[in-house]
């Protein structure tokens, strides 16, 4: 298959999976001109289950399992139908290929033996299942080749990862409801994901392996040279210290991750509270947190500017006193006529040319002329006078520009301290919101917030300790490198270790080159993602005159800049955030070379009013030819949109996008049968 060919989902078949009793099949649009497939359904009808079915089929995990907490993965109707002692089969099959033909048939079957009637739930095979079932998973990956037709690939996960790597899951299956947090909370995940899919992580692994092999070779030199052995022992000790500190770091990181997750969950619960006053308080806190992040980022860029200013003008800071003193000396010498102003040199020359002194004496020849000539020669040879002349002009200029740069430095300090003050105010306001929530009359809310505060405190303590361990690791690594170099010098002199020394050198050289490749790759990938994200975003966005550029820093924090120069990321609307996320995903598709189809759950959940109509007009322009599937609620898809200003009925999202829709389904859940009907209506 050509690397540039986009992958299309041909069909998704679910059998006894969650709301789907027996078999249901969705066929996706394969027409690149009508690249949208719409699956419409009300809450609980099984949209997110389809989203999860794809994820479970490919990777054995459900991406949005949290939203389905408390429900088993198997259909309850089918479960109750199955007699004790019989098997219940639950299966998801996905057919993927080019628009022209299917290339891969991927299926995951869970065949479960029903042992008893216990319907209590527990986690088995990574999913929630009734205790009465004893599951077995059978996976199958069929691949089409022109020469051999359909062939099974026995390495299921390898084969799946080759066409849609698991690390990409967030970038082809994503939830519109979660978009608001796509750029806030998921940054580390985004960065990690990019490093894996752009294969930067391969360099990290290779370096790790080369270091291990080099160390193994080094150990082979033990016992032949006592002084080299002493260094080896030091390397061992420092490495042991480094590993201990690193283990502490990882241990703390392990503790911090679930804490971070729980803090996020609590905040989500508050966001989604049925009491408006709580959702508003959480919204205020979210907004304040966003402002705080932007102020921190602003401080980072101020700091960067300040550092570059200090690097270019730093030497002057140290030379200022010397320059001031030199200026004083030159001016004093000129005043005292010890040094003439530069004009006197030409004056001397003109005297020699004319042959007459200012007193009227003849200097056209003889000893008087020789004296003037010697003086001129001395002046020219020593270069003192011309230098003094140049200095008398340059030094004041230097001192002036130093003053300007000093002012710029002071201004940058003022800016960052004003940001710090603002951060303080925000932090106090966040504390106030938290106190209000902790003292709220609803004990559930109050307890949640108290738990959040305790967890945040604990999380901060952990991250502070992590910083100490991380710095220990860095110091130890530097020391190890110094000892390795020292050891190398010792053993190089020993003929016995010639071969092993050569291999160690090879490992060391390869590691260094790999580090260089890694650094280069990180920069290139980030730059490409930045340029492409900006291109897509500015193409997609309807406010063409409002935004000028998109920036992505080394931490993969995204900023959108307003035409007036300020960072507008914090004030983007839900629709604009959706476009930013889509643009970012499009950029990733390009940089990674994986042309995956995109599936969005409730894409317009947070986009209302006119922007919803604008989205319908703009989305088809987004990466043309890419298959896009949207799982939409009835409201976001079919409800008429009213222009708030003119009160005009703008029609529905469906009306506007219909010409690009190749397939359209409606899901309808039948409570009585515990089954969702899939009805095609295009």
């Amino acid at each position: 298959m050509n690397e540039k060919t986009s992958l299309y989902l041909h069909s998704l078949e679910v059998n006894n999976y969650r709301q789907y009793y027996n078999k249901s099949k969705i066929e996706f649009s394969l027409d690149p001109q009508k690249n949208f497939t719409i699956i419409q359904g009300s809450m609980g009808s099984g949209k997110t289950s389809l989203f999860n079915a794809i994820s479970w089929c490919l990777y054995g995990v459900e991406k949005e399992a949290k939203r389905l907490e408390g429900l088993p993965i198997v259909n309850t109707h089918a479960l109750l139908d199955t007699e004790i002692g019989k098997f219940l089969e639950m299966e998801v099959t996905l057919v993927i290929g080019t628009p022209e033909k299917p290339l891969y048939q991927i299926s995951r079957l869970m065949r479960s033996h029903k042992n008893n009637e216990d319907l209590g739930l527990e986690v088995k095979e990574g999913v929630l299942l009734p205790k009465c079932l004893e599951p077995r998973i059978i996976t199958r990956f069929m691949e089409w080749t022109e020469s051999q037709g359909w062939q099974e690939n026995e390495y299921f996960q390898t084969a799946v990862n080759q066409i849609m790597p698991k690390q990409l899951i967030d970038f082809f299956l994503f939830d519109g409801e979660e978009l608001v947090r796509f750029f806030d909370e998921g940054l580390r995940k985004v960065k990690d994901g990019i490093e894996v899919i752009s294969q930067i992580s391969l360099t990290q692994r290779a370096i790790k392996h080369l270091v291990a092999v080099e160390s193994k070779y080094r150990a082979k030199t033990k016992g032949y040279d006592s002084s080299a052995d002493v260094i080896l022992k030091e390397i061992e000790n420092t490495t042991a210290f480094r590993d201990t500190q690193d283990a502490h770091y990882r241990d703390l990181e392990k503790q911090a991750k679930p804490l971070e997750g729980r803090i996020g969950d609590i905040e989500n619960e508050l966001r989604e509270s049925h009491r408006d006053v709580i959702t508003q308080k959480q919204a205020v806190r979210d907004e304040l947190a966003k402002q705080k992040i932007f102020l921190y980022r602003d401080n980072d860029s101020i700091k960067e500017r300040r550092i570059s200013l200090m690097i270019s003008w730093g030497p002057q800071v140290y030379l200022t006193s010397a320059l001031k003193r030199a200026k004083e000396l030159i001016y004093k010498a000129i005043e005292d006529r010890i040094l003439p102003p530069p004009i006197e040199l030409s004056y001397c020359k003109s005297l020699l040319d004319s042959g007459k002194c200012i007193c009227g004496g003849d200097i056209s020849h003889g000893s008087s002329r020789d004296k003037v000539k010697a003086l001129l020669e001395q002046v020219n040879l020593s270069g003192i006078y011309p230098l003094a002349g140049t200095g008398s002009m340059l030094i004041p200029n230097f001192l002036r520009s130093f003053k300007q740069n000093l002012e710029a430095l002071n201004k940058s300090y003022e800016e960052s301290s004003s940001n710090d003050e603002e951060i303080n105010v925000i932090e106090n306001r966040i504390k106030e919101v938290s106190t209000e929530l902790q003292n709220f009359d609803d004990t559930v809310i109050a307890k949640l917030e108290q738990e959040r505060v305790a967890k945040v405190k604990w999380f901060r303590e952990l991250t502070d300790r992590m910083a100490i361990f991380s710095s220990d690791v860095t110091r130890a690594n530097n020391e190890i490198q110094r000892l390795i170099d020292q050891h190398k010098l010792r053993i190089e002199q020993n003929e016995r270790f010639k071969k092993v020394s050569k291999r160690m050198d090879f490992c060391n050289d390869a590691s260094k080159i790999l580090s260089e490749i890694q650094a280069d790759l990180i920069t290139k990938v980030r730059e490409i993602v930045e340029v492409k994200t900006q291109k897509y975003f500015l193409d997609l966005i309807w406010k063409k005159e409002t935004f000028t550029s998109v920036g992505i820093n080394v931490k993969y924090e995204i900023s959108v800049f307003h035409v007036d120069g300020f960072n507008a990321t914090g004030s983007l609307s839900a629709g604009e955030t959706l476009y930013l996320a889509l643009s970012f995903i499009a950029a990733l598709r390009e940089v990674t070379g994986f042309r995956f189809p995109i599936i969005i759950d409730t894409p317009l959940g947070r986009v209302s009013g006119k922007p919803r109509i604008l989205a319908a007009e703009n989305l088809p322009k987004y990466i043309p030819g890419t298959q896009i599937t949207m799982l939409v609620t009835d409201t976001e898809y079919a409800s008429p949109v009213i222009d708030e200003d003119t009160k005009q009925d703008l029609g529905s999202f469906r009306d506007r996008i219909s010409k690009y829709v190749g397939r359209e389904y409606k899901l309808s859940y039948q409570e009585k049968d515990r089954d969702t009907d899939v009805v095609s209506y295009v």
């Binding site: 996960q157 390898t158 391969l202 392996h209 291999r503 090879f506 390869a510 790999l514």
Partner: protein, 59 residues
């Protein structure tokens, strides 16, 4: 030669542009494919695998 494994073209370009010996270039390319293959199989690479490899390049 490396079957269906798809190495990021940026890595291949970077290796090609390096001012190092052809042997080192070949070695780097080979270890990238080796790491890629193992990572896609969720398999673990051992230092022994690397040792064998290095000894081929530095006999």
């Amino acid at each position: 030669m490396h079957g269906t494994l798809r190495l990021n073209p940026l890595i291949l370009q970077k290796i090609a542009s390096l001012q190092v010996s052809d042997d080192m270039k070949k070695f780097l390319e080979d270890i990238f494919y080796l790491e890629l293959e193992k990572s896609q199989k969720d398999d673990v690479l051992f230092t022994n695998d690397y040792e064998e490899f290095i000894e081929k390049y530095v006999p």
